[in-house]
Subunit: 341 residues, 2 copies
DNA sequence: AGCCGCCATGTGAACGCTAACAATGCCGTA
DNA sequence: TACGGCATTGTTAGCGTTCACATGGCGGCT
């Protein structure tokens, strides 16, 4: 049994294909890389040999010589949330059609250190670019330090980001829903905010605040939540005690869910006594009791756009810093109405 | 400027480190791989040089020669759902500490063909093992064909799987909740099932059915849902028309949410008129109106266990076919009570 | 006919790392 | 003193690709 006798026992390599097709390994490589200068007949023989041997190119060898890993990294904080999970899905779909693999790194906590760890982890893997799904402010800071080695695109980060970013126009969404409630005739609109460490929360807060100011409406004290239904519930208990409250805008749908329950327990009719609106339009939102008026974000689209931007940077080599704002859409359901009387 | 003058302009490689430390590249390699036979003093010099140059080993080169990519693949169908998303998170955490990278492939649809595509995609990336998060029956079938090249572990698949698997004991969970409702005094329990193409749905159905049979309770017609709140809502509209219904077990929490809304709209009190239970214990479940009695699954734990099993297979080389069932836990909340009267 | 140029293919040398083996130096022991 | 053995380090040869360049054949032009 000499070295060149057969490929039995080990995975076939390019040379095996070449031998079977009666060409040089380089010609096989040409076929694999769609080089134009290969005779059709030769190409066919090579392709046939490839199928015959069930040959698969070795990605490590290719990566070594081309210096391209064909891999993108995704850093995310809490993939359990509906938003990040949907984005991840959109990203993977888009990456596939752009010819990239997707590798993930989840952050355990949100400090700059974890972010740096995650980036290094991806870096060690030789990713060609990174998408960051961490819309928190601290993350943005962390990002500024780390980047520079590979292209980075932030998804869901506000305009503060020092890297190219795509985000939903949270401010516009918040304005739309607040405006809508005021137009219904409410004297003012209360707000249950997300954690102030999140850019989305800040933007939504800012949009709400600006709209009230423009309308000359009084600005009630902000209730601080943490995105969870629990925090919305707690906010609801507080608001239920105040008879002045007729409209509440929650910074996300989960908090709105908790709020609905609290108001319900407190015997407040929705929307009869109090109108409630959320943000996100999670799939369940239309099945809340009552169905929730909210602001729809297309997370999948966001992921796809971010990926496009990243690929452009990688392949175009440009290091521009574009910023894309995807407009959200107000979705009206039964949890909001004109105030009583 | 000769070739060996400096590392300016290109990324440092092992030889650069070696030169700076005054050793051979092999010694650098030894330090990097924690070889025991390196003098402390030498090791220090090498480490210092590594830091000095900010040297990073080239993973492609290492993968090429070791024939190990240090990468695991995760195939998932709908990462948007709470379950898969949580598992993914658990997996990534566990993979990191086991020294692996995680690469993902999402299925666009559920046929064997897509599954095969996803597996090939991961295969091309030279993953050392694959975790499949597709609890659907068709996926299991697809799996049987593809596997063989690399170790595969299915997560969330039932005992039908031809590969090692970890899953929640859906049947036991369904039995527990059904038993509980019967013990409260309900004559029987209605069931809103998940799609029959899902193993989890089948197992929950089977557990419910078996418990009714054991108790000698009549088995009402099953309502078929698709996991969505919408389908639960539709089931709720139907059930609301039947005055005999006093207890409903929904195969997941989202459907329970829709069901709650339908019953609520139909003027049925919960749990006064009808008790409702779900399955999963998503974070929002305790904020439904009323808070939902359900069966808790620890998805993160499931992911971690699956990863452990996979790593064992890869590193141990054994190809055993263990099957792990993680017991779920019944969580009692206010949506269930003894029947009226 | 002779020559140029293009097309199709082959040859050799990287890419950056680890594995296998060789070489060196130092120790203790016979 | 000589020698075996161990700890430490160096040398060489791949791993499986792609890249750069060399080669050979063929047609069209002068």
């Amino acid at each position: 049994m000499t070295a060149d006798s057969s490929t039995i026992g080990r995975k076939p390599v390019m040379a095996d294909v070449a031998r079977l097709a009666g060409v040089s390994h380089q010609t096989v490589s040409r076929v694999l890389n769609d080089s134009p200068n290969v005779k059709d007949q030769t190409r066919d023989r090579v392709l046939h040999a490839i199928r015959e041997l069930d040959y698969r190119p070795n990605s490590a060898a290719r990566a070594l010589v081309t210096r391209r890993s064909q891999t993108l990294g995704v850093v995310s904080f809490d993939t359990t949330l509906y938003g990040p999970a949907s984005m991840l899905y959109g990203i993977e779909q888009a990456a596939r059609s752009a010819g990239y693999f997707v590798s993930i790194a989840s952050l355990r906590s949100l400090d700059a250190r974890s972010m740096q760890e995650a980036m290094e982890r991806l870096h060690d893997q030789a990713v060609e670019g990174v998408l960051v799904l961490a819309p928190q402010i601290s993350a943005v800071g962390a990002l500024a330090q780390v980047s520079g080695e590979v292209p980075v695109v932030a998804i869901g980060s506000g305009p503060q980001a020092r890297v190219p970013a795509v985000a939903v126009d949270n401010k516009a969404g918040a304005r739309a829903v607040t405006r809508y409630l005021l137009d219904l005739g409410h004297r003012t609109v209360h707000h249950v905010a997300g954690p102030s460490t999140w850019l989305d929360a800040q933007m939504r807060l800012a949009g709400w605040r600006a709209t009230l100011a423009e309308a000359g409406a009084a600005e009630p004290a902000v209730l601080a939540g943490d995105w969870s239904a629990r925090s919305g519930y707690e906010a609801g208990l507080q608001l239920a005690e105040d008879p002045e409250v007729t409209a509440v805008f929650c910074a996300n749908d989960h908090m709105a869910l908790g709020l609905l329950r609290a108001l319900n327990e407190a015997g407040r009719a929705i929307p009869g006594d109090i109108s409630v609106a959320g943000f996100d339009d999670i799939p369940e939102a239309s099945y809340f009791t009552p169905p929730l008026t909210t602001v729809r974000q297309d997370f999948g689209e966001l992921g796809r756009r971010g990926l496009e931007l990243l690929v452009e940077q990688i392949e175009g080599g440009v290091r521009v810093r574009p910023r894309m704002l995807v407009p959200p859409e107000l979705v009206l359901r039964r949890s909001t109405s004109a105030p009583r009387g």
